[in-house]
């Protein structure tokens, strides 16, 4: 790891005002103070349940949403509030892949035009011409370059997602924000696309911020994982640490919910009671305390900081983290392992 991270996020916050007529009646605290770094060539997984602010974070990273507070530094430059012209050179290094392959391609443009769009918008003339570059990209993502003149409605979901990936790669970015790139696809296609992304990441040295709610996919793809709950990161660390030695109760509950085909019955499953609290009025102190079986008085009054325990890379925001030695395996719940293996087997 180098000293200078590719992406440095500090205190990133997004509040959406709730309006009734002209009055502002509240704030949806979608994302509330995120800190994380992404090194060049590294893949960071961002996991959490629906509505925890994963997608909002991804959109702020590529500046589709304006952050309310905090800072985003990309390659040493602060881009938190940079204008369109300032961003232009950075856009080439920072791209996004979208969740829905049916909505993310313009139905009136040919595949060639879609993939060439970033080049044309930025006035880039690659050697050999735009068409050659586009066909090269299509080949790179495993599509037939002859399909240059076809329209998106002639492709399947997996092929469309490949087109979206080709478009993101057109500018040779250094970092790609992948916003649930496979959750709209069939499981067999998911494995293909994830493996394509992994190969591209290895071959081109890309860094990824991989947003997903599928823990098995994240385990397969990401070197580091950040777990989010209600707009905060509750735990961040290396893949092995998160999946095998989770310290935060929420991470444990999340991992225990992975279905496991090797076991029958609900054994080992941690059931959280209640719903996620509304981000309009999040709980005081630790946001997870309303559903945590370990919650005590201190959790309501004092917010736990995201601090590394025992000097490792793994940081946990909890007053009562799990002991480092207490692995899930020891409790007879090899959930994470089995789910990770499923993807490995499906991949060609």
């Amino acid at each position: 790891m180098t000293d200078q991270p590719l992406l440095r996020v500090r205190g990133l916050t997004k509040h959406f005002p709730v309006r009734q007529g002209l009055r502002s009646t509240g704030l949806v605290q979608a994302v509330d103070g995120l800190d994380f770094d992404v090194q060049p060539g590294e893949t960071l997984g961002l996991v959490g349940e629906s509505g925890c602010g994963k997608t909002t974070t991804g959109r702020m990273l590529v500046r589709l949403l304006e952050p309310t507070a905090g800072s985003i530094e990309f390659a040493g430059r602060d881009i938190t509030h940079a204008g369109r012209r300032e961003l232009r050179p950075l856009r080439q290094d920072l791209q996004i892949i979208f969740q829905d392959p049916y909505a993310s391609l313009n139905p009136r443009h040919t595949v060639g035009r879609i993939v060439a769009m970033p080049l044309q918008v930025n006035g880039i003339k690659p050697p050999g011409g735009i068409k050659a570059r586009v066909q090269e990209l299509l080949e790179l993502v495993g599509l037939n370059p002859e399909h240059y003149n076809r329209y998106p409605h002639e492709f399947s979901g997996g092929q469309r997602q490949r087109i979206g990936i080709a478009r993101a790669l057109a500018l040779r970015p250094k970092l790609i924000v992948a916003d649930e790139p496979v959750s709209a696809l069939d499981v067999s296609i998911q494995a293909q696309v994830v493996n394509l992304l992994r190969d591209l990441q290895r071959d081109l040295g890309l860094a990824f911020v991989f947003i997903a709610h599928d823990l098995a996919v994240v385990r397969h793809f990401c070197q580091r994982v950040a777990v989010m709950y209600l707009g905060r990161i509750v735990e961040i660390g290396d893949r092995a640490d998160i999946y095998e030695r989770p310290q935060h109760p929420y991470t444990r509950a999340l991992l225990s919910a992975i279905p496991d085909v090797t076991r029958l019955g609900p054994g080992g499953r941690i059931r959280l009671s209640g719903d996620v609290p509304t981000p309009l009025d999040p709980p005081s102190g630790c946001r997870f305390r309303t559903r945590c079986w370990k919650a005590q008085d201190i959790c309501a009054t004092q917010e736990p900081a995201l601090v590394p325990r025992d000097g490792g890379n793994q940081a946990t925001a909890c007053h009562f983290p799990e002991a480092v030695g207490a692995s899930l395996l020891a409790e007879g719940a090899p959930a994470g392992d089995a789910a990770g293996a499923i993807v490995e087997e499906v991949s060609p």
Binding site: L64, N106, R108
Partner: protein, 335 residues
């Protein structure tokens, strides 16, 4: 209708796969949504019949001077010698002869056929020009309001509401003579081009609101789609967003509203000319002809028949074609 749009698409797909399997070396070419719509339109018999009729009318209008040459009679020539002592045309059905196909006007004795051809040209020119101008204004304002939102949206909406609140007929009645007076004074001879221009201007001021509303709604619906965000994430500017990403997706409703606006402008022009604020008598137009013919409704019914039938057929064909176009462009909405 012979074929449902669904069958049309299926056929199109069969054809395209046949293309791909053929020995042609030109590579795989996909069919754009526009090409698919064109295929559906071609299979719609109503659309084809009304379309051919429209093209026929347009060719007639465009070729008016040519027809005048072949026909040998101009629109302002008078044939007083063919009228009787009361100014009524001699012969049957308003003086229909081999020389004067649709007969003669009572009173002035001008040839009805050539005046109809020139009236067609005037009507179509005014309607198309007005529809083009209103569509352009509507698309630009609607797209800007829908895409940018905020205060600009509020202002444009406010202007739209204001325009919709103004009574078209009363303003047109008040405006047209005032403008004409301002430019030509009390006695000046008003040129026909000026009258046409004033009419187009009046239509342009009032006609853009529906297109603007339509486009604004469509753009708002598209704005949140991910392909728009993808373009934004690549650093696309406003012009690229509006004209490259958004507009190609809303051509269909714009085209339909355009094709339905044209007949509306034809009837409006006729109505305005009828009540006397539109074109002067010098310019051949449907409205003026029908207005003049009303005095002779009992004595010379053939005079009202020809312009009446022509304007009816023209507007009917336009409306049918507009409906068929909508069905072809959006197969989901058809019955």
């Amino acid at each position: 209708m012979s074929l449902s749009p669904v069958e049309g698409v299926a056929l199109a797909e069969i054809e395209s796969s046949a293309d791909a399997g053929g020995p042609a070396v030109k590579g795989v070419v996909g069919r754009s949504p526009g090409q698919l719509a064109w295929l559906r339109l071609r299979r719609d018999r109503t659309a084809m019949v009304s379309g051919v009729l429209l093209i026929f009318f347009m060719v007639l209008g465009l070729a008016a001077p040519l027809i005048e040459m072949v026909y040998g009679i101009g629109p302002r020539e008078q044939f007083q010698n063919l009228l009787d002592g009361f100014g009524m045309p001699l012969g049957y059905a308003g003086g229909v002869t081999g020389e004067h196909w649709f007969g003669l006007e009572p009173g002035l004795g001008r040839d009805i056929f050539i005046r109809l051809i020139y009236g067609l040209r005037t009507s179509l020119f005014i309607a198309f020009a007005a529809a083009l101008i209103t569509a352009t204004i509507g698309v630009v304002l609607g797209a800007l309001a829908g895409y940018l939102g905020g205060w600009l949206d509020a202002v444009i909406n406010w202007i739209t509401d204001l325009t919709l609140a103004m009574p078209f007929l009363i303003i047109a009645l008040a405006l047209t003579p005032t403008i004409t007076l301002r430019f030509y004074g009390e006695r000046g001879q008003v040129s026909s081009a000026f009258g046409v221009g004033v009419l187009i201007g009046v239509f342009a001021i009032f006609g853009w609101t529906s297109t603007a509303r339509l486009v604004r709604g469509q753009v708002i619906a598209l704005r949140e789609r991910e392909f728009v965000e993808a373009a934004k994430a690549s650093g696309a500017g406003l012009g690229h967003m509006l004209f490259r990403q958004l507009l190609p997706n809303i051509w269909a409703p714009i085209l339909v509203s355009f094709s339905l606006a044209v007949p509306q402008f034809i009837t409006s022009e006729a109505a305005l000319s009828f009540i006397g604020v539109g074109l002067s008598d010098e310019t051949p137009s449907f409205g003026r002809m029908i207005y003049r013919s009303l005095d002779f409704l009992q004595t010379d019914p053939a005079y009202v028949f020809f312009p009446g039938i022509t304007i009816f057929a023209l507007v009917f064909a336009f409306n049918l074609f507009g409906d068929a176009l909508r069905d072809a462009l959006d197969p989901k909405s058809s019955r």
